[in-house]
Symmetry: C2
Subunit: 704 residues, 2 copies
């Protein structure tokens, strides 16, 4: 059964407020006040059995008495009356309802049952539900305001093309207020509350297709339907609509289940972060970052690249902007020498490499500014501009001249974001914004916001993900009882991860025979599903060069097991060839409770953990994605020939990581995690080889 | 000869403006306008040969005609007339002069000579000089405004106890404007320009002793006199006056001289950063951070620790604040269970662990807020508080009730910084500030600012640095020609850095004899001052177990040298015992052109460089400081027994680092850098041993 779209909720022509109050300070009265002040163009029907008029509107004793059909209803009634009200408004045609009422799933099992009953009834009636336990929403352009948020107490939002969706009503209120102070026009705000029906993902989807929305801001506390969310985010990316997101809190669930290195390395928040990166979502840690990015994305075009040109009236401010560019991953190449010479001839006290310091001389000749900006775009080829004029725009004398100079050059740089760094009153700032400029007081925030625009542009230009390769035929299922290292490596080998030719032996004699067949020197290891970190108990012996050494080694390993893990079930001893030289990496795949299977790569040994140098990506990944993951490691230079180290076979490493990710994703239901630690990446052309493997099967008793 | 203090410049009773103009838009007129508007209480004497009155003040045709003695003069005259004017005002008693005029050292050698002549004459006349090429200064409390900065065009600074000193006049203007918008009262602003006489350090020193200054803000572009600066910063620390500093740009000079690992690791900016940390200076990367920290330090007491209590009306905002606390190194321990239970009994919908979510129920009972805050201090023992009320303070109904509740609890939390996270108009924010609260709109900025206060408190509570040990007697000077590895290690050994017993041999026979004396197995290495990174050419052989292996190894090394470095001067081959096991670190000391000798420690091998995990400190360092440096490495867990690794002898590592730093500092004139890479830190109690050493002597031809 297809459910109705959100149109009736988001853009209704007729709205009923059930439980409307004549007192604008009350929950049932505040929305009426907002509709009145916003000048809602549709029909508004307050419903109240005791009044014939409410805040200037004709009131009706019951929903059944309404004079016309409605699209949407606000149910400002107590919990026990909700279902009855829902039925009444559905009977009048409502396909959307907003419920502020609290006391549902947030209050435990009984509330959850009540919420389920409400959602089920709404579904049966064909009514889409916002809430319960939410602060409502608004669609400012049509004056539709079913909310009691105090965000509208100080006035309606500025006109604009930003849509906000927030799980928290209170923090949504804070953002709406801040957006107005920041001169950001918010057209939609939707607080989703308990998400009994409509969740964040569906609202994002609505805004992606909405012609009145250019930029989507999201505030998340938890992810209820990751698949829907990721699908919506990918649709936003393909529609080239920036999504700017703040997610608070970090899940402890993943960290608690940290049985393997992989699990403890891939903290749940990092996993989510990696997923967002796929869709080009700008994830912000702070409220200012969120608002700055929304502001920039809604006021400026996206840049074509990452080259920033800087124009300044003060050397110091130019250096600040250049420092910030480097910090935020933008480049500041120099102007062509001819262009520099031309400007220097006009202004010998200036500097025109980049930053272009036109000096306070610009006071006497504002064409230094307009010509400078023009040359930066035409000759410098910069993708974005930042210019510093401190308080000049606020000056009665200088302000208008500066503005005229900026406007004169504007057609030339119209395709570039251009941030002014100034201090001025709101009206002056707004005037410059009207001219197509971004306005910031803090130079670093200006640069950070433009860097976010560059990130968005790059994400939007990426092709959709290629399909990863399928799991090869014949890979056996992972048993719930776990696998020894030997069996784990056999499985990995079947899945396409290269391993060494190895023999599992049960006696010293067998070990000697195996070693002679493989060729000395050999490596010997204990094999037991019960001894996950065998190096730490002396369960690994390297470089055994003679049959006698192999024989003695076998005895040593059995003693180590007896001493450190007397209860472990031993599968035997593994005899392997020496692996050769190269750089060790750790690779893993684990099943995140929210995001699903996730691939991980890091520097090998204990460094990955201590240095927190790991890169994550949702599994499965293609070879190209795996390669990009490896190259994003801070330690990637170790694989690329840093300081005389050999260049390693990164293609082989990427192929192994992709194969591992395909295995993990294909058997996600069977595993908690698979970890290869280490995998040796040999010199270029010589391949990679997994030296150890640990498969932790899914725990069917673990909470989902 | 003692020079006059800055009193006459900073707090004069009588001021002459030479070159005063009747036009408030001109450089010589704007200061007169500012003095008038600021209501300067002293005598102001405009000097202008063509007028008897200027902007309401009696004007004088020449300095010689002034009716009384002056303390300070503003010389708004062209460069050629400056010395004559200086002599004239000195004759009238001036001990301070401000010079805006540009065209001096910033314009090359000729300008520098002019500047030197000016500074010399001022020194001879006993006049302290601010500038040239500066925007002047102000001392707001007395209305002293010898500046033409546009920062005062929109009004005088707010009353307050902040002093700002900026090398850039334009960025200083920006900061002064931003400070007013941020409701920060700036009493002094001094722009130092070319610093022909007065530099940033001396102004800081003045503000440290000034009774009207509580907080000092500094904007630096370069450091002209690091010793004076560091001394002033240490005096500020001991006076418990916060110094909040922004320094832009990074010197390329250090990086260009990156001949050794040490030099390339210790970029000059990191060195400066490490030095600032000694004095508890809060270094800010961005303008908002600078202003936020100044704001917090000038409005709130310093906390006694790092425990933050959070009170909120919204779960989400509480999580944001808790996330930020973790990000900025603050802790958020839970309330005692009894206190939680007590509050839960009153407010069953709330949560009272920490964050304390009093929920929107507080609307009905604001004692939930006041009692909550009181319990957080009394029962929770928090050192600082953050509370979130979004737009409530702006509400006509809720605002006054909330403010009353906050004030009611204020005596209890008066000793704690308490940041309100709200959105409200300026007047409302100012009212809360008047009640002793900090006000922020972005929760992360609130937490960051309070974390900076905690850093300040910790720095102020530190005892002054203990004297590092002296260089042991008998350490030879480092020759300008450089030293071989063998000789370098002998020198390090004399300085107190442990090394292995080693023999330098010249033949295979000598090598075998040495190996048998030392005890097999041994390590053998090429020794040549011309082969700095010998591992990369195969110049190091490990684990030679038999006399034959030693003999073959000797031949191998000579071949390697012949093949890879045929022109290298060989000192011989070093025969050493096996070093044993442990964790390798890199230690170094280098002479930074600005900061002087600097000690460095990092993870050994190529990891330090790739992972950028190094810690710096001005040399020499004590054992305790060296130990703290080592423990600040991100990789420190590798020394502390992470994942079954042995606990290493950190005391021995610290002693070696201290000894190295003492050597480097003691012979700073002789060296560019000394590097020990690696030094092996053995298991606890077994010491440390330098395995390789490289001393790069000072290059007398290098630019200073």
């Amino acid at each position: 059964m297809t459910r109705p779209s959100l149109d009736a909720l988001m853009s209704p022509r007729a709205v009923a407020i059930v439980g409307a109050s004549a007192d604008p300070a009350r929950i049932g009265g505040r929305p009426v006040d907002y509709y009145r002040r916003a000048g809602f163009a549709g029909a508004l029907y307050p419903v109240n059995p005791n009044r014939t008029e409410i805040q200037g509107y004709t009131a009706y004793p019951s929903v059944a008495d309404l004079p016309g059909r409605i699209d949407c209803a606000l149910l400002a009634v107590a919990a026990p009356k909700l279902i009855e009200s829902l039925e009444a408004v559905a009977a009048q045609g409502a396909q959307g309802a907003v419920i502020f009422t609290a006391g549902f799933a947030e209050m435990g099992a009984e509330g959850a049952a009540l919420q389920h009953a409400l959602a089920t009834r709404a579904r049966d009636l064909g009514v889409r539900l916002l809430g319960p336990n939410c602060l409502g929403m608004f669609h400012a352009a049509i004056g539709h305001c079913p909310t009691f948020s105090s965000a509208l107490q100080n006035g309606m939002p500025l006109p604009g093309r930003v849509g906000l969706v927030t799980q928290s009503g209170a923090y949504g209120t804070h953002l709406v207020e801040r957006a107005r102070q920041r001169r950001i026009g918010v057209n939609y705000w939707v607080s989703t509350g308990n998400e009994a029906d409509i969740g964040v993902a569906e609202v994002i989807d609505y805004l992606v297709t909405d012609s009145g929305t250019d930029v989507i801001g999201v505030y998340l506390e938890g992810v209820n339907h990751p698949d829907l969310l990721f699908a919506a985010l990918e649709r936003a990316r393909q529609a080239r609509k920036p999504v700017v997101l703040m997610k608070v809190g970090t899940s402890d669930a993943g960290a608690q289940a940290a049985a393997s290195h992989t699990a403890s390395l891939a903290a749940a928040d990092d996993v989510f972060d990696a997923a967002l990166r796929e869709f080009g979502v700008v994830r912000c840690r702070t409220t200012d970052q969120l608002l700055d990015t929304i502001y920039a994305a809604s006021h400026a075009p996206l840049p074509r690249g990452r080259k920033m040109g800087i124009l300044t009236i003060s050397g110091g401010a130019g250096v600040i902007l250049a420092d910030s560019a480097a910090h935020h991953g933008l480049s500041t190449p120099e102007m062509p020498p001819e262009a520099q010479a031309r400007m220097l001839a006009r202004n010998p006290l200036g500097a025109f490499a980049n930053p272009l310091d036109v000096t306070a001389n610009a006071v006497n000749d504002f064409t230094l500014v307009s010509d400078g900006l023009e040359s930066m775009v035409r000759d410098g080829g910069y993708d974005m501009l930042a210019s510093f004029f401190t308080s000049w725009p606020a000056s009665k004398v200088l302000g208008p001249q500066l503005r005229a100079a900026l406007k004169a050059a504007q057609p030339i740089y119209a395709h570039c974001p251009h941030a002014l760094v100034i201090t001025a009153d709101d009206a002056t700032c707004a005037a410059h914004e009207g001219d197509g400029l971004l306005v910031f007081a803090d130079p670093d925030r200006a640069v950070a916001a433009m860097a976010a625009l560059a990130d968005l542009a790059e994400a939007f230009d990426r092709a959709p993900r290629a399909a990863p390769p399928p799991l090869p035929d014949g890979v056996p299922d992972i048993p719930a009882t776990g696998l020894s290292e030997f069996a784990a490596k056999q499985l990995l080998s079947a899945a396409g991860v290269p391993v060494l030719p190895e023999r599992l032996v049960q006696s010293a004699d067998e070990a000697v025979t195996a070693a002679e067949n493989i060729g000395l020197p050999v490596v010997m290891k204990l094999v037991s599903g019960d001894i996950p970190h065998k190096t730490e108990i002396g369960g690994v012996l390297l470089g055994l060069e003679t049959p006698d050494a192999v024989r003695a080694g076998h005895a040593h390993l059995l003693q180590a097991a007896e001493r450190h893990a007397p209860d472990a079930r031993l599968d035997g001893v593994l005899v392997s060839p020496m692996a050769g030289t190269g750089q060790e990496l750790i690779m893993g795949v684990r099943v995140d409770p929210v995001v699903g299977p996730v691939a991980m790569v890091g520097l090998g040994g204990i460094f990955a953990e201590v240095m927190q140098d790991v890169v994550l990506h949702r599994a499965p990944v293609t070879n190209d994605e795996a390669r990009a993951m490896i190259l994003r490691l801070r330690s990637a230079p170790l694989l690329q020939g840093a300081r005389g180290h050999p260049v390693c076979d990164i293609a082989a490493a990427a192929a192994a990581l992709s194969a591992l990710s395909v295995l993990g994703a294909g058997q996600a239901a069977q595993i908690d995690s698979i970890e290869i630690n280490p995998i040796l990446i040999r010199p270029e052309g010589e391949g990679a080889v997994a030296l150890d493997a640990l498969i932790i099967p899914a725990n069917p008793d673990a909470p989902a």
